[in-house]
Symmetry: none
């Protein structure tokens, strides 16, 4: 018997709005993309609101939705995804945070939210020192880990913790580090805010006198003398994909937030050499890993961060270029996979506008090809061409059941 | 004043996926269906997810949805629909089951789940004997009735009963009859499971020594020496269509499950001579009954089981043929009804794949014609052609309000 598989390819922020600079076309519309167009021609197309019409999705909520979850119901903050994605074994009850090494002045005003995009080696040494701090509250432990450059994660572990607390990160340069505050009236939120404020204070004490920072200042670099904390989150209460659909699933992604969401759904995470989460990533290496992973899995999610990076930078030319690279990655894939038993789906997790530099709530195009899809008349993969496709307009959370249905993995409801 | 009416025609499992055997077209796409195409041409078309995108519907949940109910909210198991459909007056608190006469060996291993498709006359005599059994728990009564061949229904009536119990039917030949188990921790579920296990045991005792079975064995037929029980269900808590829309509604269907769902909505059930629920049903007799019923009703539901039967058997040619027969039935209807005051809707309750033989979660086509519909450019009634229709992509539960709105039966929401 044929074992049907699904390969879901997500171009992060790949959808856009029409741009004057492109003659009022979108980057997808002007990019060279014969393989994407082939998918649209032989497959079924549509447009998709990742969360709901008009709602700009985060990368975490959008990925939750694309895995079939109701993000409104299950989303429990960014922190746990960041921690899971960086390899930490997050446990029930943990409250996790995304953190930045930052540069502040003597009044705790933020001068650089990324501490001069500090090198991994410096960040690692600083993190080692921070992990040695003792909290006055002995019932709570913490884990601090740097990831890439200024990025890191912090996990609070203990009883009676809450994610209902505010960020210390003001989000902009020129403002003071914020005091963390409880966001509801619970004793847990008050307790967690108190611990976090103490920890942030102790981090600052250690960092400001740290030899690594003295050396950085001597070299003319910004000292990483503070930790900015944001995105308190706990593990979402979700059923694993293996429980819902009985599938083995794997994720090929470089971005830790995406990896974390996939890990929360109990997907296996692959690490691909050369996959960087940047426009310079090794697209073909990712494609190879995804194709190979299809051998032992029912579902492979292949995520490419590059178009989102170009969009946030407002770099229209780069966005068009990386779409072309994703198309060549797709060409490799379509030549390698067994299309008699594989459904390939292509979409974006959200629209990112090159003009606003933000995630926007516009729908994204989606195309699905495979043995038994009801192909339509769409011949181009783009925001506008796909809007008249056979899928119509769906929600992000509908895509996974649609794909799982095609491979016979959705249980019948009723008799 | 004109009295507007709705005739809703449902081809059970009529939608399908593109089939290699039909040049990658669907049975609907290749069938001769001038009347269906006429409906599409003059009407408004769309595609419809009976339950939700990607979710394979049961016939019961799909019919609930097509009557306008939220099946996720109201579905309470198959049993009560089977019992209602067979003519039993199910009451609040009753727990009902679909049962099969079956053949088991001395170790209770199932040899034939249908007892050689036992004749109605034999099944009736056995049922008579079974109904005489006394339960040790005197606060609970039961009703046992055979319906067609090996099929039957069982109703437990009394206080403190629960439908949260498992099936005794293993679903396949070669496995032992299962012990019925409570599915939650309630005393009611435990109580109900105990009673049912006792009853199943007593059924077996009576059946294995029954003269009808001795005679069957003597004639070389499989004895009906056990009862397999499945699909525990209670009456759904739903408002009647008469309450919601103020309509008189009637159902023309041969399948007891469909009849039962309609009965639960307080629709009148018609019995049509020659309507069998098989591909050999009398299509025109059903059409006549439906047309006539329009005289005294606001809503007539006409259900044809045949395409589902052909699909489950993987009989592509037969499926194409019965779609042709449904088209001729439709031709009769369109010639007879007063189209100046009647809205006619045509759809399927779900996709049934001739390849997998299963209900699938793909959407179904829908067409609505009538005096004031906003007709679109679709000219063919099929899964793909209707996808670009004016209705867009709707849910099954949306169809009834759409139809009731056309005849002015939906109350205004707000001022």
């Amino acid at each position: 018997m044929v074992e049907l598989k699904v390969l879901l390819i997500i171009g992060d922020g790949m959808a856009d709005r029409p741009l004057k600079e492109l003659g009022w076309k979108t980057p997808l519309e002007v990019a060279r993309k014969p393989s994407m167009n082939h998918m649209a021609s032989v497959g079924i197309c549509g447009i998709m609101d990742p969360i709901a019409p008009g709602v700009p999705p985060g990368s975490d909520t959008a990925t939750l939705a694309l895995l079939g979850y109701d993000a409104f119901e299950v989303y429990s903050g960014r922190g746990a995804f960041e921690a899971l994605g960086s390899g930490i074994n997050v446990m029930k009850g943990d409250v996790c945070f995304r953190v930045n090494f930052a540069t502040v002045n003597e009044n705790l005003v933020v001068l650089d939210r990324r501490a001069g995009r500090i090198a991994n080696s410096d960040a690692f040494k600083l993190a080692e020192s921070l992990q040695k701090i003792k909290l006055s509250e002995t019932s709570v432990k913490f884990l601090f880990a740097n990831t890439v450059q200024h990025r890191g994660v912090l996990v609070l572990r203990g009883s009676k913790l809450s994610r209902a607390i505010s960020d210390s990160d003001p989000g902009v340069v020129g403002e003071k580090v914020l005091e963390v505050k409880p966001l509801d009236g619970s004793p847990e939120a008050k307790h967690t805010a108190k611990i976090l404020n103490e920890l942030i204070q102790k981090f600052h004490e250690i960092l400001k006198g740290h030899p690594v920072n003295k050396e950085r200042v001597a070299r003319g670099l910004s000292p990483a003398n503070a930790i900015l904390v944001r995105g308190a989150g706990t593990l979402p209460k979700i059923k694993f994909l293996s429980e819902i659909y009985g599938v083995r699933a794997v994720c090929v992604a470089a971005t830790s937030l995406i990896r974390g969401v996939c890990r929360a759904a109990d997907m296996q995470l692959l690490t691909v050499k050369g996959a960087t989460g940047t426009p310079q990533t090794d697209y073909i290496a990712k494609a190879k890993a995804a194709v190979q992973a299809l051998d032992d899995n029912d579902l492979v999610l292949l995520h490419v961060k590059a178009p989102d990076v170009a969009s946030h930078d407002g770099n229209i030319r780069q966005k068009v270029e990386v779409i072309g690279k994703i198309d060549r990655m797709l060409s490799y894939i379509l030549n390698k996979v067994d299309l008699s038993e594989t459904y390939v789906a292509l979409t974006a997790d959200h629209t990112t506008s090159c003009i606003t530099g933000n995630h926007e709530g516009d729908p994204v195009p989606v195309a699905v090809m495979g043995p038994y899809v009801r192909s339509d008349d769409v011949e181009e993969f783009s925001e506008r061409a796909c809007a008249i496709g056979g899928l119509g307009r769906i929600r992000g959370r509908d895509l996974m059941p649609i794909l799982m249905n095609l491979i016979g993995k959705v249980k019948k409801f009723g008799a």
